[in-house]
């Protein structure tokens, strides 16, 4: 007898299982898998283990403990043997999924491919320590196997030495997302989704159905959630903001740049937006309120109010030390603003220029003598031309009294251009 048997879910689903002496006991309808790590192996990658099986017995659906089941290969045929029927309740399991109900035919996230794929079949292995899920089959081969025409087609293709393309993804590289139908919650720490780039995650969330979208988003930690929300398309943003509890959304919004929050709130209805602003911390919400005053086509609506200003008399060394202490977001410091002692805007300088300057140089010695600036009530259309013409990573926005209002960064200008091209 071999100690290892591999098989597909489709080969045993809907099949009869028998007692030790071969009497048919019932029909298999689903398997429950446990994803929690075994005691003492918390750091190892989790192998989902079959723990229970849902069966149909005389028109009754019951759940049985899987430990008394055995799967045997007998003349290339699978035989499912149940030594003792031990009924259990599915509520006694946590962090579990049903293979047929939650995985098969459903969409899952392919972590390496960074996209959603549909599960055609599931590959399992039985070894002495238990039965485990190894991989999901997302290829054409699995599809044909399910329909039951894989073998005849392969037989025809064999004559021209061609095989049906199969595609498997290891369980370690997928994350199930059909939680709208599952009884468990996606746990924050274990979710493989947190390893994805926020932009990729945003693309995946956009492709999900509405119910899963909310569940997946809610499972992200606040930092990732803020980054993802920023990257989502407006209609997906609105849907998520409207379907999650207001406190949770407010917490995420506080982590986002004020200009992005303003854009998002602008698309919501006024009552909802006001409610969110009330819920947010005062410091964040006031910044957003200021930005909301600007109509779409003005620079004010595009600028960010997260930026750094330094006095002209500081030296390069002092500035770098200060930046290291403050640890701002990298995109905030692409351009640094220089002011005089009365806080009037003098010039701007890029981080690159500061880094290559001698540490002892003063800001006023190295800053641009003819800085390019815009007013907050200038039109947005002029911005792209300015960054292109003067090779700027960002443009300072000042008011008529020469005080700094904000900065428009290149990324936001590009985003604005792209979104306009889309709606044209």
């Amino acid at each position: 007898m071999t100690s290892q048997i591999t098989f597909y879910l489709s080969q045993i689903l809907g099949k009869n299982f028998v007692s030790d002496d071969g009497i048919v006991l019932g029909k298999i309808t689903d398997f429950l898998i446990d994803q929690s790590p075994l005691p003492g192996q918390e750091s190892e990658p989790v192998r989902p283990r079959l723990v229970a099986v849902k069966v149909k017995k005389a028109n009754q659906t019951i759940i049985l403990d899987f430990s008394s089941f055995e799967i045997k290969k007998f003349k290339r045929k699978l035989r499912i043997v149940c030594l003792e029927m031990h009924s259990v309740s599915d509520e006694s399991y946590s962090n579990c999924l049903w293979l047929a109900k939650n995985i098969l035919d459903k969409q899952i996230v392919d972590i390496n491919g960074r996209k959603l794929v549909r599960v055609n079949d599931v590959r399992l292995v039985m070894i002495p320590s238990g039965t485990y899920v190894i991989a999901v089959d997302v290829g054409l081969e699995g599809l044909l196997r399910r329909i039951g025409i894989e073998k005849p087609i392969q037989a025809i293709l064999d004559t021209i030495h061609f095989s049906i393309p199969g595609k498997f993804i290891l369980w370690d590289d997928i994350e199930a997302v059909d939680f709208a139908n599952a009884s468990i919650k996606l746990s924050k720490s274990s979710s493989k989704l947190n390893t994805l780039h926020p932009s990729d995650l945003a693309d995946i969330i956009e492709d999900l159905d509405k119910a899963s979208r909310t569940v997946v988003f809610a499972s992200l930690d606040e930092e990732t959630a803020a980054d993802v929300l920023e990257e989502l398309e407006p209609h997906a943003q609105i849907h998520i903001v409207e379907s999650l509890p207001i406190e949770k959304v407010a917490d995420v919004l506080e982590k986002m740049p004020a200009d992005e929050v303003a854009d998002l709130l602008d698309a919501l209805n006024d009552d909802k937006a006001e409610e969110l602003l009330e819920e947010m911390e005062k410091e964040s919400s006031e910044e957003v309120r200021e930005l909301l005053e600007y109509p779409d086509k003005y620079v004010g609506s595009l600028m960010t109010t997260d930026f750094l200003t330094f006095n002209e008399r500081l030296s390069v060394a002092e500035i770098l030390e200060e930046i290291r202490k403050l640890k701002p977001d990298p995109e905030q410091i692409s351009t640094i603003l220089v002011t005089d002692k009365n806080d009037h805007f003098l010039s701007s300088i890029s981080l690159g220029e500061i880094v290559i300057a001698e540490p002892t140089k003063l800001l006023k010695e190295i800053m641009n003598k003819n800085p390019v600036t815009v007013f907050d009530d200038d039109k947005v259309d002029t911005l792209a031309e300015l960054i292109s013409k003067y090779h700027l990573p960002a443009i300072p926005v000042i008011n008529k009294e020469k005080h700094v209002e904000g900065v428009v960064v290149m990324e936001d200008i590009v985003d604005d251009l792209l979104s306009r091209r889309k709606t044209k």
Partner: protein, 416 residues
């Protein structure tokens, strides 16, 4: 309040409607494709104004079905193909979509037949018109910008109203038209039944349900915008029916009066020339051309899209060739097949049309039953399941359509 400067005005409301506008109107326009125009022309030429009343039940059924699709799209954010795959299992899905694929290849062929026929009125050979149109459509979708393409067609679809001009030039008898709508009548013979089935069948094609639901999702609509969506659907369905009405009238007031029988839409255009003048014939042919090109663009695209959706392949024109190989392969394949069949000398066009209609007829009830079951599933639709009155009309529609489809299938057998 902070939002005074950004408050939504009446203009913003109109802009909102225009932004949502589309799914219903485009679906409605694609509905009047080459096959539709042919059916309406034939109905008008043979039966005059007699069958105009069929457009009213068609309209009601069309609105009911499309509303269900839109609601499902808005609530779930999932395509109809996705929902069928996840709830009906892989085997049912497989047979539905293989059927749809075959039917849509046939339908695409009909669209290219429309291109070939309409250009023939302008004395352009099909060996020139079909390859050029096929390539241009393919290029526009794959290499161009689909949003722009869609808008161009939206404007073009207004040109379908040209049929109004064509109809008015034939000096229709308004009194007879009024009477036929108020007092519906039909002969209960085989042929007239076939034409009635044809009119309803061409108005409600299975692939449209998938297209409608996907475009609602693509637009990212939400329940708050439901009334605009409903308005969009109603406007689209009215447009469909109005165009159909004027095509029937155009043929009834000229061809029927003179006793001219036709088999194809292009015959109608050609027959119109001596009766209502060259302008009327050209307008008719141009309308057929636009309708055929429009449908030849959307049909293969929609088919490729929902087949991939059901089987879990990457799909979408925003994807690259390498990312969505199956999708582009299907899209290009359907286009090429449709165009090539037309170019084969003496291709059995009528057989192809009949067979794609038969497959459509068999699939429509299956798809509709799946749809009504899905839209009544509380797990999927929550509180937005059908209301009793919607179910009553929905199941009634399914029953009538199944009855009609079965009759359509049995008719050829009875004839033999």
């Amino acid at each position: 309040m902070a939002f005074v400067s950004r408050r939504k005005t009446i203009w913003k409301n109109i802009a909102l409607f225009l932004a949502i506008l589309g799914p219903g109107i485009i679906t409605g326009s694609v509905d009047n494709d080459a096959g539709g125009i042919t059916t309406y022309s034939v109905a008008g030429a043979i039966y005059g104004y007699k069958l105009l009343w069929t457009l009213i039940p068609s309209f009601i059924v069309l609105v009911i079905i499309q509303e269900m699709n839109a609601r499902m799209g808005i609530v779930t954010g999932k395509g109809l193909a996705d929902l069928i795959r996840e709830n009906a299992g892989v085997k049912v899905t497989f047979f539905i979509f293989i059927g749809l694929l075959l039917a849509d290849i046939g339908n695409t062929t009909t669209e290219f037949a429309g291109v070939a026929g309409s250009m023939k009125v302008f004395s352009i050979s099909k060996y020139i018109s079909v390859p050029i149109v096929a390539f241009m459509v393919w290029y526009l979708v794959v290499k161009g910008n689909y949003v722009i393409t869609e808008r161009i067609f939206l404007i073009f679809s207004v040109s379908l109203l040209m049929y109004v001009v064509s109809a008015l030039m034939g000096n229709p008898d308004w009194k007879a038209i009024g009477q036929s709508i108020v007092k519906p009548k039909m002969d209960f013979d085989e042929k007239s039944l076939a034409v009635v089935i044809g009119i309803i069948g061409t108005t409600i094609a299975p692939w449209m349900q998938f297209y409608m639901q996907s475009s609602v999702i693509e637009k990212g609509l939400k329940m708050g915008q439901y009334k605009y969506t409903l308005l969009d659907i109603i406007v689209g369905c009215i447009a469909t029916v109005v165009v159909a009405f004027f095509i029937i009238v155009a043929c009834a007031s000229t061809l029927h009066v003179k006793g001219i029988r036709i088999n194809e839409a292009k015959d109608a255009a050609m027959a119109l020339e001596p009766l209502a003048g060259a302008l009327s014939a050209h307008v008719f042919a141009f309308g057929l051309f636009i309708a055929s090109v429009f449908s030849a663009t959307i049909l293969p695209l929609a088919t490729a899209f929902y087949v991939c959706e059901a089987f879990g392949f990457e799909a979408g024109i925003d994807k690259k060739w390498n990312e969505a190989r199956e999708f582009y392969f299907l899209y290009t394949g359907i286009m090429v097949l449709g165009a090539i069949i037309i170019l084969i000398p003496n291709a059995p066009l009528i057989t192809i049309t009949i067979w794609s209609q038969i497959i459509n007829g068999m699939l429509l009830p299956v798809v509709l039953v799946c749809m009504i079951l899905l839209v009544n599933n509380k797990k999927i639709m929550g509180k937005y399941v059908n209301r009793p009155i919607q179910n009553f009309i929905g199941w009634g529609t399914v029953a009538i359509l199944i009855g009609l489809s079965v009759t359509l299938l049995l008719l050829p057998l009875i004839k033999i």
